[in-house]
Symmetry: C2
Subunit: 253 residues, 2 copies
């Protein structure tokens, strides 16, 4: 009973390394008694403590915090666990995105040995898409966010790609038509395309449209890399031209 263990034995008993025990000792997490020569001596009751440490560590809780939990005594453990769960769930979200990005890239470049740059571009695309979603969140109301979550499911990277291309094309076409009459047939055709594409994302939902408008007006505060990515769409004349075309359409009613 009340047997004594040397580090090696105790470490094996608990399934950890000797060095880890040294570490916990120095951090004050588990301080064994010592022989006269300075050898560490562990009792069986130390095992319980060690198991708790290992368990909390498994949950991703840093050692310093574990020490605090022990130190502050009983209260607060369940509080720490609630917090830790949120942390872990956030980590899982990121992991899922990363795995998803790789999957998309593999899907998009079948066994064929596409040039690696294509794979990378695909990944960047997927990540940026997720990133945009995340960043632009703050412009939408809670309700609008929920609606976007819904629509997101339809937003495969392929769609995203096609959609980007269509906007780019349309913008270029409008740019080329800047000299025309905003009420003319050509301008009206472009305006129709514009409207249709816009509805592809907003679904015509007024809350989403409102968010988009808010986002657009906040342009000066966008992070630099967003401004950079939006640069192709930065031609003020194009926006004004389309405004006029819409106005002309309305006036024609």
């Amino acid at each position: 009973m009340s047997q004594l263990y040397h580090v090696r034995e105790f470490a094996e008993l608990a399934g950890v390394t000797v060095r880890a025990l040294h570490h916990y000792d120095r951090l004050g997490l588990l301080k064994p008694s010592r022989t006269e020569a300075g050898y560490r001596l562990y009792y069986l009751r130390d095992l319980e403590r060690l198991e708790q440490i290992v368990a909390l560590k498994f949950l991703g809780i840093p050692l310093k915090q574990i020490r605090m939990m022990f130190h502050r005594g009983a209260n607060g453990i369940s509080e720490s666990l609630r917090m830790q769960r949120r942390v872990l769930e956030e980590k899982r979200r990121l992991l899922d995105s990363a795995i998803g990005a790789i999957e998309e890239a593999e899907k998009a470049t079948p066994s064929g040995n596409r040039p690696d740059s294509a794979i990378l571009r695909k990944i960047i695309e997927v990540i940026e898409m997720q990133d945009n979603m995340d960043w632009s969140k703050k412009y939408y109301s809670e309700e609008a966010q929920a609606k976007i979550e819904e629509r997101k499911k339809l937003w495969s990277p392929e769609n995203q790609e096609r959609w980007t291309k269509e906007w780019t094309d349309l913008f270029r076409d409008v740019e080329a038509a800047l000299g025309e009459d905003p009420a003319g047939a050509k301008a009206q055709g472009l305006a129709a395309r514009w409207k249709k594409l816009g509805e592809g994302f907003t679904g015509g939902d007024p809350q989403i449209i409102a968010g988009l408008r808010k986002m657009y007006q906040d342009r000066p505060n966008w992070p630099a890399h967003m401004q950079h990515r939006m640069q192709p769409f930065n031609n003020k004349n194009v926006w004004e031209f389309i405004q006029k075309a819409f106005a002309a359409d309305k006036a024609a009613d």
Copy 2:
């Protein structure tokens, strides 16, 4: 065109910190040109490289490896990605276990402020159960493993707890009955309980039983902490007694 950027600008353009750019520079991941005074100068084409770095980093690939990927040129990126996906999936498995353990603990200790030691015990239980599953895998054939995966779904921590308790109780009862006649009514009753409990885990499947037997016979090679946890079941006399009782049962047929 071909605009030049100072670190700060370039960092904001890409959404990273200046210090990160210093870091990538020193690691040889992205080496900008310099002014005479030693200031870093980035070109727009550096942005592409940087975006690739950020993307691969997002996938959890260490910087050194990213450098190697660039260095070894085109081939091998998709290979790296396949590997990385496996790494990430393994991480997700661990994350899920951790989250699961916390959930179980929260479920088992409802809002009531149970002593924290109870919460910790619960977590340790859940983790050890997963750990056991993992460790004991090697004793089972592929088929048996698949079958166990199936049965695992029924194995809530509550069941696990009850099961452990019943085995402990049964073992204690047998120990108390060691003096009796193995063919007697009392011994036969115990043998029946034994058999029933055993089937609770094996489901009577011969492959699982075989794995269990293999595991039991390999006892000397179990890790120390498993031996420690199995210590309450280490009374050889009990096993022999039960063997005799089974034999007597068969002989009575």
